[in-house]
């Protein structure tokens, strides 16, 4: 007997992601999912961004990590509400993990957040497949990884709303081809916002923060429109 199923393998995940999205839309919280390979400097960038945006925005962080909580400890030092997820070996975060972590984070911080960062586990490939209900995926690529990454792992670069090149202070010492990488990323994703940053010199971080603030504002206006229509 043959049974036609025609069902998405990620249907269960996508259902929960939709629920997360509705919740954050009703609160007007902008949610940013940071995705990169291990060692691309995600936590370092996040620390610098948090220092900037937490001056005037209510910010929270969900930290995904395969086994440790070192990154969460680094972030918690910045006095930002942080919840840690240990994936116990899994190479990605899924929407269910985020739903549970969010409940915990809400209890912990007790106020409406303007901005929630999700630091995905260090993996450029698998996390791209799982919708968490976020507004924005940010793909990070460090120049020490080589400029062939977009061609090798196109999905994350295709889906990202922003791409952050990190460690650009190392450009003179690597064979990273900045022009070729940009061209490839824009080819896959013509509308992506691109930032070249260095945690060492601080280059580009401010631009990225300014862009994030604009997105927070857009989300806020969307919520106001929504409230008026309800109201």
């Amino acid at each position: 007997m043959k049974v036609i199923v025609a069902q998405d393998l990620l249907e269960a995940n996508d259902g929960i992601a939709g629920r997360n999205r509705l919740r954050w839309d009703s609160l007007g919280t902008l949610v940013v999912n940071l995705i990169s390979a291990p060692g691309a400097g995600k936590t370092t960038l996040l620390e610098q961004v948090l220092e900037d945006v937490s001056r005037d925005l209510a910010v929270g962080v969900i930290e995904g990590d395969i086994y440790t909580c070192r990154d969460a400890e680094r972030i918690a030092r910045l006095k930002v509400a942080t919840v840690q997820i240990n994936t116990k070996g899994a190479c990605h975060l899924d929407a269910g993990m985020i739903e549970r972590a969010w409940q915990e984070l809400e209890l912990q911080c007790g106020k409406r957040l303007d901005l929630l960062f999700i630091e995905n586990v260090g993996n450029l490939v698998c996390p791209a497949e799982f919708d968490l209900g976020e507004d924005i995926k940010v793909a990070l690529l460090s120049v020490s990884e080589g400029s062939d990454k977009p061609a090798k792992y196109p999905l994350v670069f295709h889906q990202a709303q922003a791409c952050v090149l990190t460690k650009v202070d190392l450009l003179p010492y690597t064979d990273f081809d900045l022009g070729a990488a940009r061209q490839e990323i824009f080819g896959l994703n013509p509308k992506v916002a691109m930032f070249a940053t260095s945690a060492k010199t601080g280059e580009g971080v401010e631009d990225f923060c300014r862009w994030l603030r604009q997105q927070v504002q857009v989300k806020r206006e969307k919520k106001q429109d929504y409230d008026q229509r309800q109201g």
């Binding site: 007997m1 043959k2 049974v3 036609i4 199923v5 025609a6 069902q7 998405d8 393998l9 990620l10 249907e11 269960a12 995940n13 899994a90 190479c91 990605h92 899924d94 490939v125 698998c126 791209a128 497949e129 799982f130 977009p150 061609a151 792992y153 196109p154 999905l155 994350v156 295709h158 490839e184 080819g187 896959l188 994703n189 013509p190 509308k191």
Partner: protein, 120 residues
Amino acid sequence: MHELALMENLIDIIEQSARAHDISRITKVRIIVGKLTAAMPEALELAFQVLTRPSTENGSHGINWENAVLEIEEREVLAQCPECHKQFKVDDLSLMCSTCNRPAQVISGRELQVDYFEGE
């Protein structure tokens, strides 16, 4: 290796449907995998083998997966230009329409889907 998670979902979806159709033995499963996904066919196949191996706890809910075959149909990445509506295959990783130089929409290649299964 999120392919393992994907194949766990596959087994859940099929076992649910099999029970609804009074099927107790799965012989074949066909899935559709687009080339603009992060799933590798070889890794999907390996995960399927691991999860349907007899004597593991998986697939032991009254459904027999022994000798079940996984068939994977890969889908090319296709895009369509919003301007001239031309459809083209994306094999150079560029979504720009070569005629209008405008970004095109991906219309195929993102599939990750169970097509059908066979059993008795």
